[in-house]
Amino acid sequence: MAELDTSGGGKNKGGKVRSKKQSTRVDLTAMVDLAFLLITFFMLTTTLAKPQAMDLAMPDKEKDDQQELTVADNRTMTILLGDNNRIEWYMGLVDKPLTPPQVDNYGRNGIRKALVEYSKKVIATTGDPSKGLIVLIKPSDQSNYRNFVDILDEMKVSNIDRYAIVEISQPDIALLKRDGLYK
């Protein structure tokens, strides 16, 4: 079918061999199929290969920062990132937490439940949707980068727009040690 007509090449020996005249048409269907397949492949790979990025804004590191914000302790949740992908969290302050510190893990069945529950509770007690939950994230030295990204992702998933990354303090480390999340 897909053959070029090569007859008319002229003087064969004897000159009597006459090939049958064939159409010069080539069936392009398969070729078009292949071409579109490749197009699809290239289109998808060029757009999908772009890495995803998560924006992170840190507060200004002013040395002489006088404006300390005072926030109610019933609105703050502190999340400590410990070793082996574990979390410990409590509401309020470290020396007199409003809820007992609780060990949790990442993901849908872990910290997200607490985040969703408390962000609703806090709005209910303050009675003002703009005064929601404030989360302090304190990564310890034994947490890794994946934990850090995971907890930021949890903030995005549970729609908490007020969170800060804070340096971990000694009492917090002591708390982690007590519960075996820090060696």
Binding site: D27, L28, T29, M31, V32, A35, F36, L38, I39, F42, M43, T45, T46, A49, K50, P51, Q52, A53, M54, D55, L56, A57, M58, P59, D60, K61, L81, G107, R108, P139, S140, D141, Q142, S143, N144, Y145, R146, N147, F148, V149, D150, L152, D153, K156, V157
Partner: protein, 207 residues
């Protein structure tokens, strides 16, 4: 009543034009696709559910893994200008050939003293595992760290040439311990870069 007779036509369609278009598009996509450069420091980025694509230009990438930091900026003119600014700071001179070779390097991770050796290596030799020790992140006495200077130079170069502020993205390995990330965040914050992007891979929705 006479019945209208529909002339029977062949079902074969002329595919030539369609084929032309398909191959034209194919050529276009192949040519516009940029080949992925091999990375000297392979990292496994953590997954997240964010769906924000990273821009291609005017964004520096800090690759962090195995307690090493690699640095890279896109755009050849910017790389050359960055190198010139750095050579002024460290009183080194680079020939035009070295600058050109440097501008083709996607990212690198050596102290500036060893930069010339790395520049003169071939591409695949350069990316050998463990060859590049990472950019020093410790400040020496009063002098800021080399990473600090690289970032600063790249920011100046981007502003000079493209008149936009350079953004910074961090591409960290999942298993990287937090202290080395904290150190880099500290260096960025010293320069008042308070907003940056963390490169993640996409996680399938788990809802």
């Amino acid at each position: 009543m006479p019945r209208i007779k529909v002339a029977r036509k062949s079902t074969a369609i002329d595919m030539t034009a369609m084929c032309d278009v398909a191959f034209l598009l194919l050529t276009f996509f192949i040519l516009t696709a940029t080949a992925r450069q091999p990375e000297p420091l392979p990292v496994d980025t953590p997954a997240s559910t964010v769906k924000f694509k990273l821009p291609d230009i005017d964004i520096a990438t800090l690759t962090v893994g195995q307690e090493k930091v690699f640095f890279g900026v896109p755009g050849q003119p910017i790389r050359i200008r960055t190198l010139e600014l750095m050579s002024e700071k460290y009183q080194m001179t680079f020939t035009d050939e070295e600058k050109l070779r440097f501008s083709l390097m996607e990212s690198f991770g050596v102290p500036i003293g060893n930069l010339k050796q790395i520049i003169m290596l071939k591409g695949d030799e350069r990316n050998a595992a463990g060859l590049q020790p990472g950019i020093p992140t410790d400040s020496v006495g009063q002098r800021p760290s080399e990473l600090h200077n690289w970032l600063l130079s790249a920011r100046y170069a981007t502003k000079e040439l493209n008149n936009v502020d350079m953004r910074v993205s961090i591409k960290g390995d999942s298993r990287e311990e937090y202290p080395s990330i904290k150190k880099i965040l500290g260096i960025l914050q010293e320069q008042n870069i308070n907003k940056f992007s963390l490169i993640t891979s996409l996680r399938a929705d788990e809802k």
